[in-house]
């Protein structure tokens, strides 16, 4: 199964820095194992543009679609056997400590 992993900030990060794993190691391990299909860091939320079309008119808003304290700062597409494997991969990511991760299955139709 493929999962989209949203990488998000959090207002209460892990306080013990020594526990946080290294991102380079995480990427290398999961790329080698074929579990990370792709992924990237995203530009700042201030660089976001929200697009809607209503009544035939293109409406643009400066900023992300949800104004929250937590912002999405990156993503990865994972290829895992099931949710348990995806959870294990996510739990080894540094942003599981310094932020939060959301796993969403890609719908395969």
């Amino acid at each position: 199964m493929k999962y989209m992993m949203f990488v998000c900030t959090d207002t209460e990060p892990e306080t013990d820095e020594s526990r946080v794993p290294d991102i380079e190691v995480w990427v290398a391990e999961n790329d080698t194992a074929g579990r990370r299909v792709t992924g990237s860091v995203l530009g700042a939320a201030s660089a976001a543009t929200t697009v809607r079309v209503r009544g035939g008119e293109v409406l643009l808003t400066d900023g992300p679609f949800a104004e929250t304290k937590e912002v999405i700062v990156g993503f990865d597409i994972l290829e895992c056997a099931d949710l348990d494997e995806a959870i294990a991969v996510a739990a080894a990511h540094p942003m599981a400590y310094n932020g939060r991760l959301e796993l969403r299955p890609l719908v395969d139709r």
Partner: protein, 375 residues
């Protein structure tokens, strides 16, 4: 036909678990398992119980599932594949069902509801009633949980890391035992929790916390007929009529504890409950078990109960000394414990004042009335 009902009940989980593995369709599995039970209750009293009741039920449920799927135009190759997966005798899928229902990616409420519905076979209406929600709400909750299992890719298997996941399963069983009430205010699913703990203990013979939890359930449940007075108000343990306790359940629990190593909090709690199960409470032993429990589970309520036990085992001064270091327990309960200790230490006026303050700190009801009686 009690034996029919018993044999049928034992088979329900096994059938549902296997049908889920083979068809991947939870609702179909529950319906077909239920249909097979209904057929048995209708036919067995008339034709006699078959030699292999479990096999009979599994066959009826399987045929029913194949019928339903054929009518839903599922391809013949898929149906043949399914038939293959049943032969010769299906493996026991109950553990994987339990671990899937209790998966931590589901909400706690969903885990409890799904375990009751699919593992214990409790009808949705019954679960809804006990949790004070409408049947439609409970149906939605169950449907949402089943969809999440399918859509999010929650695997249907026993996890490789049992040590990490078993406590979660036991916590669900404990919630299922304590949460949800019937019309008398008694736990609605205590019998189901006991049955599931018994089943789990058979399926996981090398995990001592499982039989320990079963023993804890049996001890707590053994007092069900003594817990309330005629008006339905709760009676504290020390005032209960002990002749109303279920001696068979207590004996079973004591026997289980005698052969189960103490490896976690459930075993310790069960040993504490067993200290209360004789003709008189063994407070010395209870105090020692509370020392152990406070080491593995240092919560304010445990610390408070530890002070109570020491107060009875070694005198009010010992209890008051421990009470002084308890932080964050519910205020009414704290005050009531201190009041009881001071009363027994001979400080009548101080105790009376504390009972009054304790009564004011708990909600209006039987508990407050009991405290005011002691002012």
């Amino acid at each position: 036909m009690k034996e029919v009902a018993q044999a049928a009940q034992d088979s329900y989980t096994r059938i549902a678990a296997t049908l889920i593995r083979v068809t991947g369709n939870w609702t179909l599995a529950e319906d077909c398992a239920q249909d097979a039970l209904t057929a048995a209750l209708e036919r067995w009293p008339r034709d006699g119980v078959p030699d292999n009741p479990g096999g009979w039920l599994m066959t009826v449920a399987r045929n029913r599932a194949v019928d339903v799927l054929r009518r839903a135009a599922v391809e013949e190759t898929k149906l043949r594949e399914m038939a293959m997966m049943w032969e010769p005798a299906p493996p026991d899928d109950r553990l994987r069902l339990i671990f899937t229902c209790c998966h931590p990616a589901l909400s706690l409420e969903a885990r409890v509801a799904l375990t009751l519905r699919t593992v214990a076979g409790v009808p949705t209406a019954g679960i809804a009633r006990a949790f004070l929600v409408s049947e439609a709400t409970m149906t939605r909750r169950l449907t949402r949980a089943k969809s999440k299992i399918a859509d999010a890719g929650i695997p249907y298997r026993v996890p490789s890391d049992l040590g990490e996941r078993l406590p979660g399963v036991l916590a669900v069983l404990y919630l299922l035992f304590t949460r949800g009430y019937d019309a008398d205010g008694e736990p609605a699913f205590a019998d189901e929790a006991i049955r599931l703990a018994r089943m789990l203990a058979t399926l996981m013979p090398n995990e001592p916390e499982v039989p320990a939890l079963l023993a804890l359930f049996l001890l707590q449940h053994s007092r069900r007929n003594a817990r309330r007075d005629a008006a339905g108000d709760p009676i504290t343990l020390d005032r209960q009529d002990r002749s109303l306790w279920d001696r068979a359940a207590i004996a079973e629990a004591v026997e289980i504890l005698g052969r189960t190593p103490v490896e976690g909090p459930y075993a310790i709690q069960a040993h504490i409950a067993a200290c209360h199960a004789g003709d008189e409470t063994n407070w010395r032993s209870a105090a020692e078990w509370y020392d152990q429990l406070a080491r593995v589970q240092p919560t304010p309520v445990v610390e408070l109960n530890r002070a109570v036990a020491h107060g009875y085992a070694h005198g009010p001064a010992a209890g008051l000394a421990l009470l002084a270091s308890v932080n964050g327990a519910p205020e009414g309960y704290m005050l009531a414990v201190e009041a009881d200790l001071r009363e027994r230490a001979g400080e009548k006026a101080h105790a009376s004042d504390l009972f009054r303050r304790a009564a004011a700190a708990v909600p209006d009801g039987p508990e407050r009335r009991a405290l005011l009686k002691r002012v």
